[in-house]
């Protein structure tokens, strides 16, 4: 069994590094379309990482893992499918509080046009690259520092890389939320942090308890995310007539 598990663990680690790559990519770009595509790819990778990690832990004797796999994998897959449609709807919809999810090809094109107008910097900014590398370094240092020395934990490398990637996603998500100038990318930043949580649940929390309870809390968090995507984001876009957060701030009367 161990011969099979080692390659699987390596695959998980490689996929996590790829996730870091996509996080970097969606941070350094100004194009909302690319941000969304990179996020979808990242969600897909997360689903594979979560599922594979759960299989490895099941093989290691952690009981009750199948239900957890199903619970954990559903949400990222759902977001892969839904996120673009929700963001198109948020960008162009005028009936924000209606539970209508119909998005036409015309809506899609209109949203693409609005997103294209937002892209101001064609080249990646060195500032972003340096910042992300620094954040990743910080996250991995924390992971190395807080985890016990070799021998005390099963799959230490798996756990250490998992914690490092989880913290990096967290910090990079925060970086996106603070520095991106459109509300769509800010929401993607929030979802990126959300992904850090998913990874933390499957990589560092004991299975099945309390991991299952944490998954319930993640579902609850997803409820908040859906509230933002379905109601709040379209409404804010509707009342401000823009997705440009700088313009919203400039025109706002909420000052001082």
């Amino acid at each position: 069994m161990n011969e099979l598990l080692n390659p699987l663990s390596n695959i998980v680690n490689v996929l996590e590094v790829v996730m870091l790559g996509t996080a970097l990519y969606l941070t350094i770009t100004d194009s909302v379309s690319i941000v969304i595509s990179a996020y979808r790819l990242q969600s897909f990778l997360l689903a594979i990482v979560a599922g594979t990690t759960a299989i490895i832990r099941a093989a290691n004797g952690d009981a009750g893992v199948v239900r957890l796999i199903i619970l954990v994998v559903i949400l990222p897959i759902l977001l892969v499918i839904l996120i673009r449609m929700l963001l198109v709807r948020a960008t162009v919809s005028s009936s924000s509080l209606r539970l209508s999810f119909r998005v036409t090809a015309e809506d899609s094109m209109q949203a693409e046009r609005i997103w294209r107008e937002r892209a101001t910097t064609p080249q990646p900014r060195p500032r972003d690259i340096l910042a992300i590398l620094a954040l990743a370094l910080l996250a991995f240092l924390i992971a190395a520092f807080v985890l016990p020395p070799e021998g005390e934990v099963k799959d230490l490398l798996l756990e250490r890389v998992g914690l490092g990637v989880s913290l990096t996603l967290h910090l990079v998500g925060l970086y996106n939320m603070v520095l991106k100038r459109d509300i769509i990318s800010q929401v993607i930043g929030l979802l990126l942090m959300d992904q850090g949580l998913y990874l933390a649940v499957v990589k560092i929390v004991a299975i099945p308890v309390p991991a299952e309870f944490f998954v319930i809390s993640l579902y609850f968090y997803t409820l908040i995310t859906m509230f933002i995507l379905i109601f709040l984001l379209p409404k804010v876009r509707q009342v401000t007539n823009t997705i440009d957060s700088a313009r919203i701030a400039d025109e706002s009367t909420l000052e001082g």
């Binding site: 807080v146 929030l190 560092i204 309870f213 995310t225 709040l232 909420l254 001082g256």
Partner: protein, 582 residues
């Protein structure tokens, strides 16, 4: 004869069930459209007030009969099973439940008047008809039933917070308050309120992710317990697997937790729940949110919601101190956060601003003061900090509600918030209450805030000048912050509060004393014609003043006397925070 656990369980069920039932009734009326039936709408509003009053009485009984040690209410629900195992009732949780219910009661009462002005009956009939024909006027679709439903749901979630023993449930309850309060923020359906709701949800959701990650780190710290297959700990976990994230269980087995993960967890918790508590530098949602929300909601947010997050920090504070064996790490983090909040609030209170925003910055200041008190640590300062939690909740609610009453009346004749002047003349009773509340808020003797601030300062100075052994049973987790740091912190505290005193008095003088200058207009709610320069243009009904007078009584009374069961509750709460037992 009713035993203590039975009494506690019965009271807790009542306190939790009442707001839930009112909310469920409201939700049903929204689904089945009874809300268009005005008698039901009115009845729901009055029921909300009366039943939140019943909740307050029940929590008073709970406070008087507080259990000597932490109790788990025996609550079993169909489908959900033994819910009681996830809950906890001790003096600290009862104290916070009491605060929630007191503020929920007065806010519900004040909501009746707020909604009456927000939806004048005649106009409402017209707008309901018009919304059916014209979908563009969505603001008209807001309804009092929806408001009462959400307020009761908010009340329910806020009661759940101090009752949660399971730290994941605690997180879920706090996150639930976020979701419900966001909708309430935007109730007025203006651009500003949606902007504020957006900012609030994005910032606090970000913070709450940190808090969940912090909770996960704590779960990782307890991983050693989860893998045990034999022995008493394993027996407990086999019987109740979710106990592994219960605060009481973790406190009992704190020596077996991983030290580094507990410390890392606390840092993430301070950032996460600190965002929700409005501590600087994560406070930026606070002035917008409190400034734009309807006044009863601002009172609930400032009076209770911020404290709910603080309650969560307190539980982690105790756990971390117990693991680390001292309070150096936690106290330093909280002292820095507290002082930073005080310093950040000061310039914004000094500058000219909308009065509700000024009050919001005062919340930042007072959360800073409470956090400062916890950071100083020790019995006296912690007593002061816990007492200040109640005092600030009461005084700030009084300010938001009384200014809300003023604002509603001036808005009815088309006067903007920034142009409100001469309230002492136009509304002498509400103006007088606002003046007394304002003086209390800045820490003027003999009001309640003065008392608790003095105790906190006394706690800080006594650490330096009169260090005495604690009266609490060991182990006490105290900090060894150097004296010069404590004195420096006290100096900054004094400078900030003095400047803030000047700032608020200036704002109050502008609102209260300047000559009233409103145009001749028709009062939109009453239809009465208001003449330019009328001496007392607004009626101040006793029923509307009553919740303000209740709060004012507490503000004045607690400056000179504390209800003995409450004092005992706070003292027991201090023991719990210091030792984890009580």
């Amino acid at each position: 004869m009713v035993t203590q656990p039975e009494l506690t369980t019965g009271l807790v069920i009542g306190i939790v069930a009442i707001p839930f039932v009112v909310c469920a009734l409201g939700a049903l009326s929204l689904i089945f459209r009874w809300r268009r039936w005005e008698p039901f709408e009115r009845a729901l509003g009055y029921a909300s007030v009366v039943l939140s009053g019943v909740c307050l009485v029940l929590s008073g009984v709970l406070a008087v009969n507080a259990p000597a040690i932490a109790l788990k209410p025996g609550i079993n629900l169909p489908l959900l099973g033994d819910v009681g195992s996830l809950l906890l009732v001790d003096s600290l949780s009862i104290y916070f439940i009491l605060i929630v219910n007191l503020i929920a009661f007065v806010a519900s009462w004040n909501s009746i008047a707020y909604l009456r002005d927000r939806f004048p009956r005649r106009e409402r009939r017209i707008t309901v008809e018009s919304t059916e024909q014209n979908d563009t006027s969505r603001s008209n679709r807001r309804n009092p039933t929806g408001f009462h439903t959400l307020v009761n749901l908010f009340h329910f979630t806020m009661v759940l917070v101090p009752l949660a023993d399971n730290l994941i449930l605690l997180w879920i309850a706090i996150e639930a308050t976020t979701l419900v309060s966001t909708v309430l923020f935007a109730f007025d359906n203006k651009r500003e309120s949606w902007e504020a709701a957006w900012k609030y949800l994005i910032i606090t959701s970000t913070g709450i992710i940190f808090a969940l990650l912090g909770t996960m780190f704590l779960a990782n710290a307890a991983k050693g317990l989860a893998v045990l297959r034999e022995g008493p700990i394993a027996d407990v976990l086999i019987a109740d697997p979710n106990a592994i994230m219960n605060w009481t269980f973790l406190m009992d087995h704190v020596s077996l937790l991983s030290k580094d993960f507990v410390a890392l967890s606390f840092l993430f918790i301070v950032v996460g729940y600190g965002t929700k508590a409005g501590l600087a530098p994560m406070h930026t949602w606070l002035p917008d949110g409190h400034g734009e929300a309807p006044s009863p909601i601002s009172a609930l947010l400032s009076g209770v919601l911020l404290k709910s997050a603080l309650y969560a920090i307190l539980r982690f504070y105790t756990l971390t101190n117990a693991k680390l064996g001292n309070a150096d790490f936690t106290s330093t983090a909280l002292l820095v956060a507290g002082l930073l909040s005080l310093l950040v609030a000061t310039p914004f209170i000094l500058k000219s601003n909308k009065f509700k925003r000024v009050l919001a910055y005062h919340s930042l200041e007072h959360m800073g003061i409470i956090t400062f008190g916890i950071g100083i640590g020790g019995e006296i300062a912690l007593f002061g900090a816990l007492l200040h939690t109640l005092n600030h909740a009461v005084t700030k609610s009084l300010m938001f509600l009384s200014f809300g009453d003023v604002l509603r009346r001036y808005e009815r004749i088309g006067v903007a918030q920034t142009d409100i002047r001469g309230v002492l003349r136009s509304m002498p009773i509400t103006g007088g209450i606002l003046a007394l509340g304002g003086l209390a808020l800045v820490g003027t003797p003999p009001f309640n805030i003065f008392m608790s601030e003095l105790i906190i300062l006394w706690g800080a100075l006594s650490r330096v000048l009169l260090p005495v052994a604690s009266s609490k049973p060991p182990p006490i987790y105290a900090s060894s912050i150097p004296n010069w740091v404590t004195l420096g912190a006290v100096a900054l505290f004094m400078i900030s509060t003095t400047l803030i005193f000047y700032g608020l008095v200036r704002h109050l003088a502008q609102v209260l004393l300047h000559k009233a200058d409103y145009p001749a207009a028709d009062d939109k709610a009453t239809g009465v014609e208001i003449h330019r320069g009328s001496e007392r243009p607004f009626h101040e009904p006793v029923l509307e003043l009553a919740p303000l007078l209740i709060l004012l009584t507490v503000v004045i009374l607690f400056g000179v006397w504390i209800w003995p069961p409450l004092s005992q509750l706070i003292s027991n709460g201090v023991t719990i925070v210091l030792t984890g037992k009580g």
